[in-house]
């Protein structure tokens, strides 16, 4: 049972993911493209997924693109109600920090993007572990880069893995696919993750345990009143 939680695409891509061995995927759209029409299309695909055995089980995710922390907070408040999975587009250190501190965020996507360091330090790692915010390793960045950029990406992955071993924040590996050719089988990803020093068990957790926890958390979210108090019935 494997999950891919960062796929930009449609029903065709979902079908291919099922063929490659994924049990569930998350179809993601960007917050600036969000409108009712797109949401309806995604809901239709999700409905197909629940009745048709050719499809994996599908969740709807929104990737928030914000330039300031105020904008980010506003977007999180708005989008948390509609999305199954809430992803923040990382890269800016201020956005990374604000996202790590907010328990409503599920995933920070590529916190290392357009940076020389990995975008996460020991302070953010501790915050992410406390608030259960998963840090994403997006394989698309590795597979679509070359030469010095690829070596930089590998070193950033290695830094994230090293921090994860120390601070135990949730880590998630995704394909970040935009087309069916970007998808990779879970076995390929587990083997590839060895190249940046990730143990096989950790890679398995990143593909299975972390996404499963995110789904479970999103199911009980409505019943939680504050952190530590929830309605049973």
């Amino acid at each position: 049972m494997f999950y891919d939680f960062h796929v930009h695409g449609n029903g065709k891509l979902a079908k291919e993911a099922k063929r490659l061995g994924y049990h569930a995927i998350c179809l993601v759209f960007h917050s600036n493209n969000y409108n009712q029409e797109i949401l309806e299309i995604y809901r239709k695909v999700k409905k197909n997924g629940s009745v048709n055995s050719e499809y994996p089980s599908i969740s709807i995710g929104v990737e928030i693109l914000s330039k300031t922390t105020e904008d980010l907070k506003k977007n999180i408040k708005e989008i948390r109600k509609i999305a199954d999975v809430l992803i923040v587009h990382g890269g800016n250190i201020k956005i990374n920090r604000a996202a790590c501190r907010d328990p409503r965020v599920d995933i920070i996507a590529h916190p290392y993007k357009n940076r020389t360091d990995c975008g996460i330090n020991h302070v953010l790692a501790r915050e992410a572990a406390k608030n259960e915010v998963a840090i994403e390793i997006n394989m698309n960045n590795l597979l679509k880069s070359k030469l010095s950029i690829r070596s930089r990406v590998l070193s950033q992955y290695r830094q994230i893995t090293k921090l994860q071993r120390k601070f135990k924040f949730p880590i998630i590996i995704t394909t970040g696919a935009h087309s069916i050719y970007d998808l990779r089988t879970p076995k390929d990803i587990i083997v590839l993750s060895g190249s940046f020093g990730m143990a096989e068990k950790d890679a398995f957790d990143a593909l299975y345990v972390t996404p499963r926890n995110i789904i479970e958390r999103s199911k009980i979210r409505e019943d939680v009143i504050v952190n530590g108090a929830k309605i049973i019935r």
């Binding site: 907010d102 328990p103 409503r104 979210r221 939680v224 009143i225 504050v226 952190n227 530590g228 108090a229 929830k230 309605i231 049973i232 019935r233």
Partner: protein, 94 residues
């Protein structure tokens, strides 16, 4: 009126409570009416009339509200004097 949204700020004395989890196994299963509360403990009167004092910070409680709803609260959320809980700040998002 006491609701799930304000229970951790509200008076707990008089509510039906059950200890569902604790780091000390002896506390698990204690059930009855809350008869007293201090900063760190809750006194529970059981059906046979005996009174048990349970520390808040190591236990998880199920409170039954007059409306019939059951709310699970980890003890560390209500770890304050009853009169001070109204001032305490809670993160209202999760």
């Amino acid at each position: 009126m006491i609701t799930p949204q304000n229970i951790f700020r509200h008076e707990l004395i008089g509510l039906h409570v059950m200890v569902v989890d604790s780091s000390h196994a002896g506390f698990i299963g204690i059930e009855g009416k809350v008869v007293d509360e201090t900063k760190n403990t809750i006194s529970i009167e059981q059906e046979d009339g005996t009174e048990k004092i349970v520390p808040k910070n190591i236990a998880t409680f199920h409170f039954k509200l007059p409306s019939g709803k059951i709310v699970e609260i980890q003890g560390n959320v209500i770890l304050a004097r009853p009169e001070d809980r109204i001032k305490k700040k809670f993160k209202n998002f999760w």
